[in-house]
Assembly symmetry: none
Homo-oligomer: 189 residues x 4
């Protein structure tokens, strides 16, 4: 029973994320989402009171997942270079793996989340960003970086999230290759 409910919610959020990514939040109608999960439009509101709530839930869930994944990945690293590689690699995996839609929505539909909800997400986002800044700072101290940490992270946010628009994980370049290339732009070779 609880499982059922969890499944429903998960499926609903996955479909919503997919639609938000494909069409953008404003162009996605609640009827689109409802019919994607086999519901009538009114039935959505048993699960989420407003369309905004759906966007919020998509973002909240994915940021929790990627933060956990990142902690796991970092736990298995030792050197600064390994850490930065893990940061890049894990974020790329999130963007091109199972949570692709939600990750993309988190970045590119941000402005459509209500300001109140943005604040809530920002708290979680700051926790995640702290992992990045710590890792980059260590690399900087080791003399590995080509750019100041804060600036570097922002350049990497751009280049990594933009890969969703051109990189094909099933194409000739593997995700590991891509991660290595990005690492080359971030650290001295």
């Amino acid at each position: 029973m609880t499982q059922h409910v969890k499944d429903r919610r998960a499926v609903l959020l996955a479909e919503a994320a997919s639609l938000f990514r494909k069409k953008g939040f404003p162009r996605t109608t609640v009827r689109d989402i409802a019919s994607a999960v086999g519901l009538q439009s009114g039935s959505l509101f048993h699960h989420f009171a407003t369309k905004d709530d759906i966007l919020f839930a998509v973002m909240e869930d994915v940021i929790a997942v990627i933060t956990e994944n990142m902690l796991d990945a970092l736990a298995e690293t030792e050197t600064p270079r390994q850490k930065v590689r893990a940061l890049i690699r894990t974020e790329l995996e999130a963007i091109h793996g199972a949570s692709r839609d939600a990750m993309t929505v988190l970045v590119f539909e941000w402005r459509h989340l209500s300001p109140a909800r943005q604040k809530e997400i920002l708290v979680l986002r700051d926790q995640y960003e702290a992992l990045w800044l710590t890792g980059l700072a260590q690399a900087a101290q080791a003399g590995l970086t080509v750019v100041e940490s804060f600036t570097l992270r922002r350049l990497l946010v751009g280049s990594i999230s933009w890969t969703v628009n051109w990189f094909d994980p099933d194409g000739p370049m593997s995700l590991d290759d891509l991660a290595e290339q990005i690492l080359n732009t971030a650290l001295k070779t």
Copy 2:
């Protein structure tokens, strides 16, 4: 009178670009645009037949401008490193200077342009991208790049366009500084 008409059109597109950037294309109403230029909503349609046409015009104009600027900038360079610096620098200027709104719209509202119009813009965009690829290829041949040219350009598209979300040209870091930092990620130091 012709001058008048041109001014009208330029003002209208500038206001539209500003609104599209601030609120996104779908959330911007034609009434918003009309009232920003002191017109009633119906009067807009004497200038542009559809809302889509306005988005198209914004994109078409800005891509013409940046292509021209880029050609001018490249004409004054000689070495591959100078060329790459000019590419980065000129694109940054477009994103943070007078054409900021339109440039941002070109990148981030792309999906909201009708497919037919996307095709038209892509022709112009390819011409512009050819300038980049040529410049990066020369740097590659000179053994300066850290990453294959095609991939490098795409990483740079991401990091450069994302600067609109965090870089403040009036802040402590100058646009030249920023360009130099990005150059450091792109080429061997």
Copy 3:
């Protein structure tokens, strides 16, 4: 168990009446009523088949109560003046006492009862009104009234039921005072 059932029903109708009075019938949702009695919305329909049925039950119950109360009160009177005083006093007590919500609903939500149900209530209402008309007729015959009985009753319906909107039984004026004042408008002094 029967007691249980009766209690349930009584509590439910009391809460419904309170909500109908506060928000009006159309603005009161079945969810409002359900949650006021600690039920889920679907469970209400084990007690009442439709929302209209709830309104009907509220009205039916209260008209039975006030008719009985009125009969009791009139039984203790002798003179025409006493009878009119009892009529006014008893109706005021119903409107400001325990059955306040239901009485108010009976008067001010009348139009929202389905026509079929209105007919049913009208039968009971006519019985109640007969008590009034009889009392007023006796006063008229005794030369006490200032206005023809039928008209007088209708004027009194208005002034008495409207007291729900301004009279505070815990304020400086007592219910007896109020009854006496209204009596002054109805009969010669």
Copy 4:
């Protein structure tokens, strides 16, 4: 042209008032109103931004009209009894004449106006009520009233507004007769 616009607005408010009175505000849809004036639903919003605005306009207009009428009527009176008769008579005319629907709405749909708007109307209403209280106070000073002025006004609000539910101006009793009868309940004979 201005005339056209005024007519539109007046017709729209008249139809809206009629519907609000007949079905109540919550049960009246904007489509009902629109189709009553020969418009599509969306077109209403060129004239009034929200449904609440329509209710507000109905109330604001009618209270302005009745206040003016009352001032005119009182200007032609001299004695306290004449004044009270004018108060009753003029209010009855408003309730059974051209502004019947709006007057009824003002009284019986009051709770459905948004609190912010209620405040605005209350200012106007207080001005109108001041006319009543002044008139009744003069009658009281002349020893004519049977009840304290403040209470008397509230009883009269009830009985007069309730006449909308039973009095037929085309029936056997004339409006003047009715006014006289109500006067009999208010003042010593």
